[in-house]
Symmetry: D2
Subunit: 351 residues, 4 copies
């Protein structure tokens, strides 16, 4: 109810603030008898962690994965996996000035309105740090999906107003922005470094491509596969929109253009993005999310203090000038969780 769990048959529950002792996740509903180890999860954590390049925050969170339950002799047991990530390199003193004012674009104001109390160190649960538990839980889902032949891949399609012109999935992990086009990546990096130097930030678009999902996945009314993916993606702090297949462009198309016709080899087009009526069609699942520019900037901004007085704020700290490359593994993690959950739900329905 308080919303710190996600999924039904495969479920994660996260905890932890950016400046507390630790963050982590309980993963419930794990298939027993599956080989898993900390290194597998660590590999995903390392993709999310800050300090990877000039376009991400220099904050150091080593994010060393510790699995404290649910494993026996290298295999999952079916009981809850608990994964903890101890926080490191916290410098709460850097945040003392934000104790008295609300940072524009941040959840400072809304959290205080909601709870009547605010942990002003960093951003508490509203921090991107909260996604660490998601990535750990998503890595478990990814391992289970491997057995089903499902691959989940995301990348930065656009950042700082520059859009990829080519798609080569082998390039994605080779550049600091996780773009599919090395030339565009170089332009993005240059632009982001410039914005970083003037204390500003930028947004972008992350696309996710999912292959190998069998047709028939997704519950058809409220828990449509695209509805659940939309919730999962919008639950990521910086995401402000999502579209599937042709997406918003579909609003300008005719039915005769948008409908995906079929021949004996399958769907001829994929304007639907691999989901029709909320159920996977067997085609690639394709969606894009809109990523807003990072809220934390050191450009002076107008705001109010906790007592309502007008003031100017400059957010210091070690922030990401563009969060896209670090959102890529979070998008993948959440997509993995939604898919594994729906596979289990489909089995339950038929079983």
């Amino acid at each position: 109810m308080a919303g710190n769990s996600f999924g039904e048959s495969f479920k994660i529950t996260t905890f932890g603030e950016s400046h507390g002792a630790a963050v982590g996740v309980i993963v419930d509903g794990v298939t027993p008898g599956v080989e898993l180890n900390e290194a597998y999860i660590q590999a995903q954590m390392d993709r999310r962690k800050p300090g990877q390049s000039s376009v991400t925050s220099p904050r150091k969170e080593y994010d060393v994965v510790h699995i404290l339950s649910g494993m026996f002799e290298g295999q999952t047991t079916g009981t809850p996996l608990f994964i903890i990530l101890h926080n490191q390199d916290m410098r709460p003193e850097a945040y003392t000035d934000i104790q008295h004012s609300f940072r524009p674009g941040h959840a400072d104001f809304t959290y205080l309105q909601k709870y009547g109390i605010r942990d002003h160190r960093g951003s508490g649960r509203a921090s991107g740090r909260e996604t660490a538990g998601r990535v750990a839980g998503g890595a478990v889902a990814r391992k289970l999906l491997e057995r089903r032949g499902v691959q989940v891949l995301a990348y930065t399609k656009e950042a700082a107003g520059i859009r990829c012109r080519t798609f080569d999935e082998n390039e994605i992990e080779k550049n600091a922005v996780r773009a599919s086009d090395p030339e565009a990546a170089a332009e993005m990096i240059e632009k982001i470094e410039h914005l970083s130097s003037i204390g500003d930030s930028c947004g972008g678009v992350v696309e996710c491509i999912i292959r190998g999902v069998k047709p028939g996945l997704g519950e058809p009314v409220f828990d449509k596969l695209d509805a659940e993916l939309a919730k999962a993606m919008l639950s990521i702090g910086a995401v402000k929109g999502i579209e599937f297949g042709a997406g918003f462009a579909a609003s300008g198309m005719l039915g005769s253009e948008h409908n995906d016709e079929m021949d004996a080899s399958g769907f001829i087009t994929n304007h639907s993005g691999g989901i029709i009526g909320g159920i996977s069609s067997g085609a690639e699942i394709v969606f894009r999310v809109a990523v807003k520019p990072t809220s934390s900037i050191s450009v002076p901004q107008q705001t109010i203090g906790v007592n309502g007085e007008e003031t100017i704020i400059v957010t210091e700290g070690r922030h990401d000038p563009c969060i896209c490359p670090r959102i890529v593994p979070v998008v993948e993690a959440m997509a993995c969780i939604v898919l594994e959950d729906h596979y289990k739900r489909q089995v339950a329905m038929l079983g």
Copy 2:
């Protein structure tokens, strides 16, 4: 689990197929002691029903609201409200030709893959008819929200490639497309009538504006207010995308442009669409959904039969050339349900 329920503290569960005996909804978690009657719900049903104009399906569903439980002497009792809408004007014979082939853009293929069985009359649960129960349940939520001073308003912002240039909310219910701009509305209608005459269809964009929501609503991690609204909207069959506030445009903005600064009178801008960190800010909540063109068209299309053979299909029947005006009340209904649910969840958290 099978996904025919939505909401937690305020919850709807729907049933019914387009060509069965009835559709309907159980509404659970209704505040007791609230005055309600069938006429109030009927008014919302009448906005959704087909046969309202030249731009919607001529099918007649009178959709007479019957409340069979949960009321006593004109007041809600706190027990489940059950609302049934008997189906009428079914002509299953019109659908016999679709028994043997899959209609492009329809869920025929995906349902068969999921369940191994298909009710080929109309579209079963994948029919837009399924939304009748939502609108009935949403009307109950709307009544509860009235007591909180919340207003939910949606309209067609774009249809058939034509976009509203003005916004006058008093115009919306006066034109057949539910557009906010009477001139644009006239152009839309002309274009849609033309498409209808050639058996084709078009999509559009529906915008929703929510006023009067107090700051502090929404659960901050997975059940963010925008995440739940996104799920609710993507669970509507024809919706392929959603964006909040600046939405996809935010991906091209700088942090210094996108951040909503504050002064003593509140937020100066509203790029966030009234939700920051998943929690309402007190500003208007604004989102837009992408509506795909109606799948059912009478233009000949290439498809396969149930045995995989290639064939050409022409979907006869009485379909909507543009579903936007009828989606408007469904968008409102789902938004009302999300909001009332989150109000109750907020009370529970603090209580």
Copy 3:
């Protein structure tokens, strides 16, 4: 949240008051492609209905089953089954005197405290009538369990202080109290008819035996199979206790007596009642529920009126002097729902 749904992977949601227009149930999570018809469900409804004998209420509820969705050509489709039972033979005038006073043992007082409003006709949702939807939903679960080889059987083990001395399951449906011992049944009936003649009522014990459940069913921590069965049974209005296997007698046994030893053919004893650590052992599942005497009696009782004034009440109406025989099918129905739900959950966990 408001508690009118039960189950996760197989879920029922009920509605309806005793003196409203109808009661009914939405059954979600039904396996598709299963043959089912109204007659199968009707057979279970007929076991629950009043007016079957001298030991039950003479009220006539014909309880004719109507399935309005979720079926196609005699098979389930996987979409929600909606089953409605229209109310008949309501005589609200018989209840006008209870409008002003609280009946001892009834939920009149507690409902008013909870909701601040009370539907004083009959007992609203607190009426035994509410169980009609459960029995209909349970019949669907029973059909699914048949395919798994599971049999669920309940009977009156004790009523009016008389206990069965023999167990012959073929006798159960042959006598009006559904006892396993025809001689004890005759004694029970004589005693109950006497109590009925003086306006009083009595309780009893119903035992449930479940055969054919494979070992390994049940979630091991909070959703233990016995925990879920306990919730299901205590959710039946007249039930005040439950015990599994040796039950309360186990509290006086030694570990060396109570532990069920095993040999090559399986468990030698079954003190655990077929569930160990919350998981089925493969032995018969056995539990007993304590049924309180019916609250509605025409013996004068001391109570207070709605304004707190002391008064004497005599509850007229057509009530059951002993509810045990009619609770038997409700116990079976709820057990079926719990089991089918756990089968599906087990499949999801492994799948």
Copy 4:
């Protein structure tokens, strides 16, 4: 779904095995702004821990409480509380002999049937150790209930066949069995020490009394207050039955005896145990649970090995000859969680 969470508006999710690195709990739905500290929770943990006396296991688990999230400057923040308890004094070598055979009365056999894999060290999640997380979560609920004026008290009413003849709540925490009658306590202890000396064990009855609950708490159909308490109690490994108020004795009473009459000062009797129609009446809530004798005994028992061969097993290890005194705080913890959850649900329904 996999059943490691309990509650809706106030929810706990537990993890951890008896011989893993740690056990713990995430508590979600905590009211913000409540003063709380580790010492408060520690006090409850200390009541549950082993090694307190001659009648409990000599195993040492120091169970030092660490709260790693959800607190700020001594107050709850409304975000998830994470509490971890590191395991200590594990001696897995003591369990190597149980690797090859199933201990009678233990979940060894059923877990293997369920999961196909078994963590044979201790009892994994089936260990009483799992309840540590519950007691920690229950302490948080207890703190919230204090603000509502609710007191939850359990004690050993019967152990080793000896029943308390008197009730003095001040005596409970003064004797090693947590009995309400110091004389009976002395007899119990003598009997339990004898059983311990011969390697056997015994069961008992724990009664729970809840004071200060306002009338009107509990959801009336499936989530009745007694139904939820029953689930909560039966989810405790050693509990085999529950009864409310008169309980099983009600089955032998007449309606005219069992009904609780009212006068101007309230209910005259409390046969219902404080819950009528699933809703609290304002009277004391009273229930009793049947506790089976501890399964782990060193008396030789017949069993089978993992390959089905017959064998004799002697369970070594440091076990509790009577678990009642350590179950007392677990019963209280689970009752607190159910109550706090229902208070929040009631607020949501009305709110």
